[in-house]
């Protein structure tokens, strides 16, 4: 029986396995994670985010903020679109005008609705005037790639198929659900990428993705790797694994309108009864770090000194006793009360739910697990039809997201305050945070919010998932970013024998 040889990336081309196909590479319409990540390679943005999620210039030399509602951006000169035309301020204005034009129906309208007008000052200078101060404005700019005005106006329909940007790679082929091929942009303003070509291959099954990696048909995989398979991957001489703590935050959400869960002592008891470290160690194989709140330690607004709930069964039992929920038969089969725990059909989430069920049983709480396919599950939690549920927040950058999650005006359908959490002080601070431009003052505001949330516990913080990339050993320069971005592909190179 002949054993096939593991192949290495050749000809400066690397193949990356993706679980699902991006749906739309037009930055004005892209909404899913893979579309964002690929759009980062095809386009440039005015602003990008540094490792602490501070806004820093991308295709601009500098920006000025003469008053709370005005931003002036000075573009770098000589940046070319893939078709050879130069990027100027009219392209910037055009891009955002499209998003703000109701006829375009861009899903990013809400992020930029505070823009009052966009004025071209000269070929390389553009001014944005806001209706009112809005602190997350700069960070919101980091997701919108600039599209060329002339091309767009000529061919609105075909744009989706052949996007033209200024990014380090050009789109060569997009076969939905099969593969996306990107070629290097030799004229990239920040230096030609070292790779000639990147092929993103869509492989929905996680085991098959790993087999393809094992065979050398795929050279890099990032995340979506079952933790159980890590011991196997670690033994492979041809592969290397790069890990970096991420920002994806997993939590258990409470329905604060529920007769039992509205008692803070019960929520505290549940938080104490869950042994997160054991779940991280045995189920997640160490690929997560315990979380203390929505904002990860990477975020500039992260507050370290908040109330944390270390695993303590005794404390949990005492709190439940204090709440009048007595365990009448001690360690016997009788439970104090029963709660429903909703989760998706994802196998890993179901396993974690079972562990939590067991851990809560030890303090006398009976958990009934209900797992639903995503659409039904999401519909239930949005409508408040739950007691406990588990989910993750992905891609948290600006702390203003707290408005969307915990402000009392954000109860669905307006926002994602699904647990119906209401705290006037938190409301006030969140509102202040979004209009305060001074970073130090803003940080103090969000620190206080995080401390209050950790005491009120509308969520039990579980963990931040670790980002993992598994790649062929000959690949160098790949950086795993906290949000799983593919930025570093422009600096990746292959070591040939």
């Amino acid at each position: 029986m002949a054993c096939i040889k593991e192949s290495r990336p050749t000809g400066n081309t690397i193949v990356i396995g993706l679980e699902s196909s991006p749906t739309n590479l037009d930055p004005r319409y892209a909404t899913d994670a893979n579309s964002y990540r690929l759009a980062q390679l095809l386009y440039n943005t005015l602003i990008e985010l540094d490792s602490r999620f501070h806004p820093v210039p991308n295709i601009i030399k500098r920006f000025a903020n003469p008053n709370d509602t005005t931003y002036v951006f000075h573009l770098k000169e000589g940046i070319q679109f893939h078709d050879g035309k130069e990027l100027t301020s009219k392209d910037v204005k055009y891009t955002f005008d499209c998003i703000l034009n109701p006829a375009f129906k861009s899903p990013h309208f809400g992020a930029f609705e505070k823009i009052d007008s966009i004025v071209i000052l000269d070929k390389y200078t553009v001014k944005f005037i806001l209706k009112e101060p809005f602190a997350p404005f700069l960070i919101n700019l980091a997701v919108i790639g600039i599209v060329p005005k002339d091309d767009m106006q000529k061919s609105e329909d075909s744009f989706n198929i052949t996007p033209v940007g200024t990014g380090p790679f050009k789109l060569a082929e997009f076969l939905h659900d099969e593969r996306i091929v990107l070629n290097a942009n030799a004229d990239y303003f920040d230096g030609r990428p070292k790779l000639e070509r990147i092929i993103f291959k869509i492989i929905p099954d996680s085991t098959v993705r790993l087999l393809e990696l094992n065979q050398g048909n795929v050279h890099l995989l990032q995340n979506d790797i079952p933790p159980d398979l890590f011991p196997f991957l670690e033994k492979k001489d041809s592969l290397k694994i790069v890990k970096r703590p991420g920002t994806t935050y997993s939590y258990i959400g409470f329905n604060l309108k529920d007769a039992i869960l509205k008692d803070k002592r019960v929520r505290e008891a549940i938080a104490y009864a869950i042994d997160r470290k054991a779940i991280i160690r045995y189920i997640l194989k160490g690929l997560a770090t315990p979380a203390s709140g929505i904002l990860s330690p990477y975020n500039w607004a992260y507050e370290e000194n908040v109330n944390v709930f270390e695993y303590n069964k005794e404390k949990a039992r005492n709190l439940l006793d204090q709440a009048g929920l007595i365990d009448t038969d001690g360690n016997g089969p009788q439970m104090r009360f029963e709660l429903t725990f909703k989760t998706s059909t994802d196998q890993l989430r179901k396993r974690i739910a079972e562990i939590i069920q067991q851990q809560l049983k030890e303090v006398g709480i009976k958990i009934s697990i209900k797992s639903y396919e995503w659409g039904t599950f999401y519909s239930d939690i949005k409508s408040g039809n739950f007691q406990l549920y588990t989910l993750s927040w992905v891609g948290i950058t600006d702390p203003d997201v707290l408005y969307y999650i915990f402000h009392s005006s954000s109860i669905p359908p307006q926002g994602a305050n699904r647990g119906r959490y209401i705290n006037k002080r938190v409301n006030m601070l969140i509102e202040e945070g979004r209009i305060t431009l001074d970073m130090n003052r803003r940080k103090n505001i969000y620190s206080e919010i995080q401390k209050i949330l950790a005491l009120d516990i509308p969520y039990v913080s579980l963990w931040y998932s670790t980002n993992v990339a598994v790649m062929n050993k000959s690949i160098h320069g790949y950086v795993v970013y906290p949000a799983g971005d593919f930025f570093s592909l422009k600096d990746v190179w292959i070591e040939n024998d």
Partner: protein
């Protein structure tokens, strides 16, 4: 015959109309909002509203239904909510892949099941008969999600004979076809065997033998032809079922067929795409049934098509 075909083709319309109405109601009744699923958790309410409006999902259900039926009559199945491409284009691109895989699996199943079924019937209770029926039992008991990866590890990983995933030419179809065809060949070989056993005990077979015909001629000319009627029914049903998309096999082998397209459309509540896929599948089902009926009359002239 011509009248029969025309009549059956006309029947296609009420069937398709019924299926479309049923699917439309069903997909709209199940919980889950396509806008939520498209924009993700972080989306703002205003963006959701605008998108809902642009997709005309804010219209009453009756209006959405009328719009859909009006479009369908004109041959316009709308655009996929997700990638904005016309549903008809997506189906025309993906359906041939499923048809290709189905035909390959069916040919494989017939190539295996016919000889095995015939031999087992002729040599009933022989060692080979027991062996083949044991393997038939095994084949029907092996689920695709287990057999697929197993074949993949043996033939792709260890032997390197075939590509692991995707559609990269003829070699790519072999393993998905075996995965799909195994259970089918097991069912068919048992079917052929039992059908043949029934026929070879008939008096006309005894007469054929008494006439001094060779055993091969008796089996293939007289027995097999009559034994095939129930087999064709099963082939037709299985073929129709496979055309509905072999979701598990397509997912395992990253095969870009309609099954994967449909399941993604259901998961994302992409209503026009779900409706389009079901329409394509239901038309195929009706056509396969028609072909099966026509095949009966060729094989057994006693069956009249009216």
């Amino acid at each position: 015959m011509k009248d029969f075909i025309i009549k059956r083709m006309l029947l296609l319309f009420p069937v398709v109309f019924g299926v479309l109405t049923f699917v439309f109601l069903l997909i709209h009744l199940i919980p889950g909002d396509p806008v939520d699923l498209m924009l993700g958790e972080n989306a703002r309410a205003i963006d959701k509203e605008k998108l809902r409006e642009s997709l005309r999902l804010d219209e009453p259900l009756a209006v959405q239904y009328m719009l859909f039926i009006k479009g369908a009559i004109k041959g316009d199945l709308g655009e996929s909510l997700y990638n904005k491409k016309p549903v008809i284009h997506l189906i025309l691109k993906r359906y041939p892949e499923t048809i290709k895989l189905t035909i390959a699996a069916m040919v494989l199943a017939l190539l295996i099941s016919l000889p095995i079924g015939i031999y087992s019937a002729v040599k009933q209770y022989s060692f080979m008969d027991n062996c083949s029926m044991f393997f038939a039992l095994l084949g029907v008991s092996m689920p695709n999600f287990w057999l697929g990866p197993l074949l993949m590890i043996l033939f792709c990983v260890n032997l390197g004979w075939f590509p692991i995933s995707g559609d990269e030419g003829l070699r790519s179809i072999v393993l998905p076809a075996i995965t799909l065809g195994t259970a089918m060949s097991a069912i068919l070989s048992r079917m052929v065997r039992s059908s043949m056993l029934e026929v070879i005990n008939e008096e006309y077979i005894v007469t054929a033998r008494a006439k001094g015909l060779s055993e091969l001629r008796v089996i293939f000319r007289h027995a097999l032809k009559n034994a095939l009627v129930p087999v064709i029914t099963v082939v037709g049903l299985q073929f129709g079922a496979l055309l509905a998309g072999a979701i598990i096999t397509e997912t395992i082998f990253s095969w870009p067929g309609i099954g994967r397209l449909l399941i993604q459309a259901i998961n994302t509540r992409d209503y026009p795409l779900v409706q389009g896929c079901v329409l394509a599948i239901s038309i195929s089902y009706v056509l396969i049934n028609l072909i099966t009926d026509i095949a009966y009359s060729y094989i057994d002239p006693r069956i009249k098509l009216r």
